[in-house]
């Protein structure tokens, strides 16, 4: 059962004008969180933003010794802008952890998996990297952004996974390869490398491309999907994606982590 708690803001760390990390007390949500879970945050009690906003729980960590949840946020509108300005100590209503997390229970020391992030899609992969590293699973990160500044939390990824297992692609070539992140993955697959599973989060075009690659390479996947959400716990039916069985699946309850084969990409 997800918990609703008023968690105090511990720290806001700004990366640039449109990206920041928000750290709040972990409360009892921290211990319940698995990689891929998300939470609904209420940014103030005004009439805009009115509904809560969904964010991946990027990490369960500490701030000056205090157990904390970290959210990595990109400013795209009123809610994400408002959350950036919460002073330290402000209580923030948080509902979580929500949704179906990444499947990882079957992974062990002998396994290798691929992690693909596009833009702000890095968020759920931070805790995933931490947990997989702790289990001794070999995880390779492929992370694409517009430019070097778009690539966040590099130090954490490289600490968890090893710098040699982190590859980057940027549109302008300012970091890593100039081009698409999918090209990095394709190169490995073409060289004959295999992965037990592909974990990904990013914009729809990236998911679409990865679904094609996964079909060709017969790769098992888990995609952390996004959608506009009103409730986050399966009651409004607003957040759906077209499912392959003809239904619409709720991203908040049946997802957000779904295999690409569950989704009807022709209707997305």
């Amino acid at each position: 059962m997800p918990v609703n708690e008023e968690l105090r803001v511990l720290k806001t760390l700004s990366y640039d004008a449109t990206h920041y990390s928000l750290f709040v007390q972990a409360g009892s949500i921290g211990a319940l969180t698995r990689p891929g879970h998300f939470a609904m945050l209420q940014a103030g009690d005004g009439l805009r933003p009115y509904l809560r906003r969904a964010f991946s729980i990027a990490d369960v960590t500490t701030v000056a010794g205090v157990p904390a949840l970290e959210f990595v946020v990109k400013v795209v509108g009123v809610g994400t802008a408002a959350l950036a300005h919460f002073a330290e100590g402000t209580p923030l209503p948080v509902l979580g952890p929500l949704g179906v997390p990444f499947p990882i229970d079957d992974l062990g020391r002998d396994d290798r998996v691929a992690l693909v992030a596009g833009g702000i899609g890095l968020a759920p992969l931070v805790l995933l990297s931490r947990v997989l590293a702790a289990r001794g699973v070999t995880a390779e990160l492929f992370y694409g952004g517009r430019n070097e500044k778009d690539v966040l939390k590099r130090a954490d990824f490289e600490r968890f996974l090893g710098a040699h297992r982190c590859a980057y692609a940027t549109d302008d070539g300012s970091l890593g390869r100039k081009g698409l992140v999918t090209e990095l993955l394709q190169r490995e697959l073409s060289a004959g490398k295999t992965y037990k599973r592909l974990y990904a989060c990013g914009p729809v075009p990236l998911f679409r491309a990865l679904a094609r690659i996964a079909d060709e390479a017969d790769l098992e996947t888990s995609f952390a999907l996004e959608s506009e959400m009103a409730c986050g716990f399966g009651v409004c039916l607003g957040c759906v994606v077209p499912a392959r069985d003809g239904r619409f699946a709720t991203v908040c309850k049946e997802g957000p982590c779904l295999p690409h084969t569950a989704i009807d990409w022709s209707r997305v």
């Binding site: 805009r48 809560r52 409730c231 409004c236 607003g238 994606v241 003809g246």
Partner: protein
């Protein structure tokens, strides 16, 4: 002092006037752990149809100032799954269940009613004749008093359970619709459903909602909902009403009661705060206690209005 929160809407007795609105409270069970389901006045479940319905393609929702637009398209598990799997659990929790139903034709409404039969675990039927988010669906009935009267007559014959008709604010004359429903056998009226709205993504010059238009709900519609409750109450003072539209606080609840609703339904606010409905029950008792009101039912329809004066002009 202990406050009497019980209210009676014709044949439907409720332990308190705080119910939850269809489509905003799932099948109730999703709120276990947030709300004491048996402590609510009633739970109106997501609109049920004769067969499971997939609903509309996304995007289905977007936030707007003081509320949201939705065009879910009545996605639901269907009446049989509801009766077989959800109703027994709801009943075991002591919940007072209102079955909100819809169809594309009169026959489809009647078919759903026949499946429910006289199941005593259903406290009342709520006919949704006002969903703006499907091409067919109940809206055809909600917008035409003649079609509405015919539908309600058939449903009245098809069920012995208390019959609620949920009215559309989009039909032009809500009092005419209210009369048609009551004259055809409705015991209770619910108002309002969502108001048709449009939100635009300027960059793409596309509607933000896949269905183009969506139903507006939340605090944005509260004054309109209050006005409609008051109008219907004035025209049909003996007909019990469920009032709804943007209710979030105990003051909002009381405004609806004073305007003429015997009970209210809390909708969109459940998304923002899943605890709100349960909390409102407690806050209503506390408010009455503070204000020396020992029966909440005594507040219903107590709005004091003044005669509306004709305008006057300055002398030439």
């Amino acid at each position: 002092m202990s406050v009497d929160l019980a209210v009676r809407l014709g044949p439907l007795a409720l332990r308190n006037p705080i119910a939850t609105a269809s489509g905003t409270f799932g099948y109730g069970l999703e709120f276990e752990g947030y709300v004491d389901l048996g402590g609510l006045g009633a739970i109106s479940v997501k609109g049920l149809s004769r067969r499971p319905c997939h609903g509309n393609p996304p995007p289905r929702i977007c936030e707007v100032d003081a509320g949201m637009l939705n065009a879910i398209g009545l996605q639901n598990i269907g009446i049989d799954t509801f009766l077989g799997e959800r109703l027994p659990l709801l009943h075991a929790k002591g919940a007072t269940v209102i079955a909100n139903i819809w169809g594309d034709t009169e026959d489809e409404y009647v078919e759903v009613l026949e499946r429910i039969g006289d199941d005593a675990r259903v406290a009342a039927i709520e006919l949704n004749v006002s969903c703006p988010n499907v091409v067919k669906g109940g809206m055809v009935f909600g917008n035409d008093p003649v079609a509405l009267a015919a539908l309600v007559k058939r449903c009245r014959v098809a069920t012995k359970l208390p019959l609620v008709v949920k009215l559309s604010p989009n039909s032009g004359d809500i009092v005419a619709a209210a009369r048609a429903a009551v004259d055809s056998g409705a015991d209770i009226l619910s108002l309002i459903n969502t108001l048709v709205g449009l939100a635009i993504d300027l960059e793409r010059r596309e509607p933000k909602i896949g269905f183009t238009t969506g139903g507006l709900s939340g605090p944005a519609i509260r004054p309109i909902a209050l006005r409609m409750v008051w109008e219907v109450r004035r025209a049909l003072p003996n007909v019990p009403l469920f009032g709804m539209g943007g209710i979030e606080t105990v003051e909002n609840v009381l405004e609806f009661l004073v305007a003429g609703a015997t009970a209210v339904q809390v909708g969109t606010a459940n998304f923002r705060d899943p605890f709100v409905s349960g909390r409102l029950v407690k806050e209503l008792a506390a408010w009455c206690d503070r204000h020396g009101v020992d029966r909440v039912a005594d507040l219903v329809g107590t709005l004091k209005t003044r005669p509306r004066p004709e305008h006057t002009f300055a002398k030439a």
